[in-house]
């Protein structure tokens, strides 16, 4: 555990409770995004981590040590901090800016210089730029420097408060790639405030959704898309994004029909016909005693056999197409649609039959994703998306108090 925050609360001198009972555990190498409405306490929470603000109550521990017992100046030097609007020193060269924390830490001149060259390369900017002043750089270049400056002293924890807010989409994306690389390949831990949901969902390993000083939901991007905790979250993510994301987060098991019509190989033709009649289907799946899928039988094949006592195993077709229950719909849909089958059996890890997925259910999800959020008088095709639509359009999707 790199960082842990317990029952954190911040009350400003004017009585405003900006953060209330905030709890979070952060492992090394995680990428945490704080997202929420403006004024929900994201900045306040972040600034308590490097003691730019002191909490009213609760504890913050870094590597198990209570930070309130640490020297704030030393603490800040050990944590990278990227602030909005970069905060580069306008009177210092880029090199001096990058070397700032290493210098405060008393690194030798040679070591600092070496680090400056390394950092400018990491920022993918030309080495000559070290001699320039911040005012001579574009906004995107300054922001890049702001990010690598926070890493120059090899800090393992980096705090970033809406670092890419005012940038154009292309610069933004390349900076997102940069920080993602730093987290994935260098194992840095990021805590990141953003108001851009796509940024939060794409970059983070865990999203903290905040409203009015409280955490509304803390989970992985996939789980948040899969199960938004309430209508506030649904609204924050947006119906469009939720519906479009469904093929990539829904698993086959979530849209399959349970209890498919199945029969064991030792039963007879007679049994098979009876079961088909009962369930009103023209195919039966064949599973062994332990439920492992073996094949299927088709009404056409049955018609050609005269003896009612023929065992099912005789006319089982063993070339059966099936999908795994935990597969993402987006990954399987192409294959299923190409096969042209109406229904596909769903199996678990041990190839045991757990359900059946209909072509219609699949097509509905894919169609909704392509279509996006429905218009006022439309309804999504898939029942799952209909639920999302209902939650998103319900009057005043506020967070329940």
């Amino acid at each position: 555990m790199l960082l842990s925050m317990e029952h954190l609360r911040k009350e400003y001198p004017n009585g405003k409770i900006a953060v209330d009972d905030f709890n979070l555990e952060v492992d090394r190498g995680e990428f945490i995004a704080f997202i929420g409405t403006s004024g929900s306490g994201k900045t306040t929470t972040m600034r308590m981590i490097n003691r730019m603000l002191n909490q009213t109550s609760g504890t913050i521990k870094i590597n198990g040590k209570d930070i309130s017992k640490m020297d704030p100046v030393k603490l800040r030097r050990s944590i990278g901090y990227v602030i909005q609007n970069t905060g580069l020193m306008p009177h210092m060269t880029i090199q001096e800016n990058i070397e700032m924390v290493p210098k405060l830490l008393g690194w030798s001149k040679e070591k600092r210089e070496e680090q400056a060259h390394k950092m400018i390369a990491l920022a993918q900017l030309p080495d000559e730029m070290l001699q320039r002043y911040p005012g001579e750089l574009s906004g995107g270049q300054q922001q890049r420097i702001g990010v690598v400056r926070a890493l120059a002293a090899d800090q393992e924890l980096i705090l970033m408060d809406e670092p890419f807010g005012a940038l154009d989409p292309i610069t933004r994306e390349s900076l997102q790639d940069l920080v993602k690389h730093l987290q994935k390949d260098l194992g840095k831990t990021f805590i990141f405030v953003t108001h851009d949901m796509d940024e939060a969902l794409n970059l983070s390993t865990k999203v903290v959704i905040m409203s009015q000083g409280k955490q509304v939901q803390v989970d992985t991007p996939e789980n948040i898309l899969r199960h938004p905790a309430n209508e506030f979250v649904t609204n924050l993510i947006g119906e469009e994004r939720l519906i479009r994301a469904q093929p990539n987060i829904l698993t086959v098991s979530q849209i399959m029909l349970k209890n498919p019509a199945a029969i064991t190989p030792d039963k007879t033709l007679e049994d098979a016909i009876e079961q088909m009649h009962e369930r009103r289907v023209d195919t039966l799946l064949v599973t062994d005693k332990t439920g492992v899928l073996q094949g299927f039988v088709d009404l056409d094949d049955i018609n050609r056999i005269a003896d009612a006592h023929t065992p099912v195993s005789r006319f089982t077709q063993d070339r059966v197409f099936y999908v795994k229950a935990n597969a993402l719909i987006g990954d399987t849909v192409d294959r299923i649609l190409k096969k042209g089958v109406k229904n596909v059996p769903v199996v678990d890890e041990d190839k045991r039959l757990v359900g059946i997925v209909t072509r219609t259910a699949l097509v509905d999800i894919v169609y909704d994703a392509l279509h996006g959020a429905p218009d006022a008088n439309e309804k999504p095709a898939s029942p799952i998306n209909a639920d999302i639509h209902a939650a998103a359009t319900r009057e005043g999707g506020e967070m329940p108090q």
């Binding site: 100046v73 603490l75 602030i83 909005q84 905060g87 306008p90």
Partner: protein
């Protein structure tokens, strides 16, 4: 002109020296007091306005009255003159220091602190260098004031180029009046020019 220089040359030099000395002493004291005070004021929530208006009031006291007020306390000579001129120098330096420090962007201050600078490091490495040009222009303004007002110091026996001017006025001698006032003007211009150079030198490179 040549005649004037031949007669009063050495006297002119020593009076100019006196004049400079009084001015420099007053200005030096002004800087020592007003710069830290101005910085301190930016750290205080209340009181800044009070101190600034107090300095403003001191500035409005007529120069002659201020000089005269010094006599009961410090007697006559250069001490009361230096103290009076020092009081005059305070306001421009104080005001510019205050404005200069206030003008440092909160983002820069926040970054400096967030990166782990101590209070002293924040002052010396970030805020003062950034405020330096504004502070320096306050000092420069004070310097020209002080050199001009130092002329009056001769009235309370502090010497300086004012001696020529007041003698000239008493004796109806325009050569003495000019011989005193022209060097004062030249001195003021020269100091202003030199301090202008300093102002540029302390300006952060990218802002020049």
């Amino acid at each position: 002109m040549m005649h004037f220089l031949a007669t009063y040359g050495t006297q002119l030099l020593s009076k100019t020296g006196q004049h400079l000395l009084i001015s420099a002493a007053a200005l030096g004291l002004g800087v020592i007091v007003a710069v830290p005070l101005g910085i301190l004021l930016t750290r205080m929530k209340h009181g800044a306005n009070l101190v600034m208006s107090l300095a403003g009031v001191l500035q409005t006291i007529p120069a002659m009255a201020l000089l005269a007020m010094m006599i009961p306390i410090f007697g006559i000579g250069s001490t009361p003159a230096i103290v009076a001129l020092f009081i005059y120098s305070l306001l421009p330096i104080l005001r510019n220091t205050y404005l200069g420090m206030q003008g440092v962007s909160p983002t820069v201050r926040d970054a400096a602190k967030g990166m782990g600078m101590t209070w002293w490091q924040m002052m010396t490495r970030a805020e003062i260098p950034l405020a330096a040009p504004v502070i320096m222009s306050g000092i420069r303004l004070s310097a020209t004031y002080v050199i001009a007002w130092a002329t009056l110091a001769s009235y309370i026996g502090a010497g300086g180029l004012g001696d020529f001017i007041f003698n000239g006025l008493n004796l109806y001698r325009s050569d003495l009046i000019l011989g005193g006032s022209i060097p004062v003007i030249l001195l003021a211009l020269l100091v202003d020019y030199l301090l202008g150079k300093v102002e540029r030198a302390v300006m952060p490179k990218p802002l020049r």
